[in-house]
């Protein structure tokens, strides 16, 4: 009869992973997820779900906004753009209202007349129509029309 103890490796082996350890790790992952999601939402959506105020909305609540920094959206009025060494000044319109924007910093590549823009900045006073901008962003539309209209046909055969 062979001696069971002779040549037998009796060094302790690691215990199989317990469910408790898995649960602890899972709770850790979920906690990290919650922190990450809250951090993202606090940056993006918890202040305001809407990214900007339109010109008419901003004009309507100008008294309460004061000189608070906001993002203002409107369409650049044609023939009002004046590019300066430090930025640009122009009028934007929306909902029948107009605001004069004096912005610092170089405007984006697509900045032009009749394009919607979002300007980060503030009104110069509670009653002023002048908005001092620190950043201009272009809110381009989802219009994908070819630059050479005759080369593109609509489904009904008409050229656009």
């Amino acid at each position: 009869m062979p001696d069971a103890d002779v040549g037998l490796d009796l060094t302790p082996v690691a215990a199989p992973p317990s469910k408790r350890r898995g649960r602890r790790r899972s709770i850790g992952v979920v906690a990290l997820l919650a922190v990450a999601v809250l951090a993202l939402l606090s940056q993006g959506l918890l202040h305001s779900l809407n990214y900007f105020e339109t010109v008419d909305q901003a004009m309507h609540s100008r008294g309460s906004l004061g000189t608070k920094t906001i993002r203002l959206e409107g369409i650049v009025k044609p023939n009002t753009i004046n590019r300066t060494a430090t930025g640009a000044s122009f009028w934007i319109k929306g909902g029948g209202k107009e605001v004069f924007v004096s912005a610092h910093g170089s405007p984006p590549q697509l900045f032009q007349a009749n394009i919607p823009v979002v300007v980060v900045g503030h009104f110069t006073s509670r009653t002023s129509d002048t908005f001092y901008g620190t950043q201009i962003m272009v809110k381009h539309t989802a219009s994908y029309i070819a630059q050479h209209p005759k080369r593109v046909k609509a489904p009904n055969g008409s050229t656009r």
């Binding site: 979920v30 809407n50 984006p108 697509l110 979002v118 630059q147 593109v152």
Partner: protein
């Protein structure tokens, strides 16, 4: 026979469709009004986002739901969910990168904390958490169940991403291809190129999913074989 043929053709067809997208998108299609050549990213970014949010995340969600339903519960659907989620992470990252590349010259910023971009980033965090959760659990059944629940929870975010541009005011544009009244906004060769890009990237997803799935099967087989080998060795040691 058909299965074998489709498996063999998946790679080459994907390659042809993506090469066609590249050729049409860069050389054949005209540039766009207002955005000029910048808008050629329309042949990449929306298709990548489609695969990230709907195709791959959708596959992971459906497979997770199938795992949680007792009748269809199997390690096969759990494996599909895991592999699809891994591919989804890659495509979500690509969506954010291509969007950022487009955003810098068009909007003037690399990133904006608007509802569309933030909710997409949140989906990315959920997808990463899904993969972390899988690594946190050693018990296969527990791992499958917990990650499936997380995938279903994360899927709530998908309609939020889709409708964010309608529900709230965002810097991100509205619907790219169709208007809310289902009118087409892009025509001719541009529309065809867009369609081919969607097909190409969708096929790429299935090609990647298949490759990842095969790798997972091989990994499981190797694990089982090494476990079996270790058990045999242990028995031998006990007999000596």
């Amino acid at each position: 026979m058909i299965k074998q043929l489709s498996q063999r053709l998946l790679g080459p067809v994907t390659f042809v469709l993506l090469a066609l997208t590249l050729w049409l998108g860069l050389w054949v299609t005209p540039s766009f009004e207002i955005q000029g050549d910048l808008a050629r990213l329309v042949y990449v970014h929306p298709a990548v986002a489609w695969v990230a949010i709907y195709v791959s995340f959708g596959t992971a969600t459906i497979a997770s739901a199938l795992y949680l339903w007792r009748r269809t519960r199997s390690m096969l659907v759990d494996r599909i969910a895991h592999c699809a989620m891994e591919v989804s992470v890659v495509f979500i990252l690509l969506t954010l990168i291509t969007g950022s590349i487009w955003g810098r010259p068009a909007w003037g910023v690399w990133w904006a904390w608007d509802a569309r971009l933030t909710s997409t980033a949140v989906l990315g965090v959920f997808a990463l958490a899904y993969l972390a959760l899988r690594r946190a659990n050693d018990d296969p059944e527990l791992r499958a169940r917990r990650s499936a629940v997380l995938a279903l929870l994360a899927a709530i975010n998908v309609p939020i991403i889709q409708f964010s541009v309608q529900w709230w005011k965002t810097l991100h544009q509205g619907a790219t291809v169709f208007t809310t009244d289902h009118g087409l906004k892009i025509h001719g060769i541009q529309a065809w190129t867009l369609l081919i890009s969607f097909l190409g990237f969708t096929m790429l997803f299935f090609w990647l999913l298949r490759a990842r799935y095969r790798l997972e099967v091989l990994r499981d087989e190797r694990y089982n074989a090494s476990l079996e080998e270790a058990l045999v060795q242990r028995r031998r040691e006990g007999v000596r």
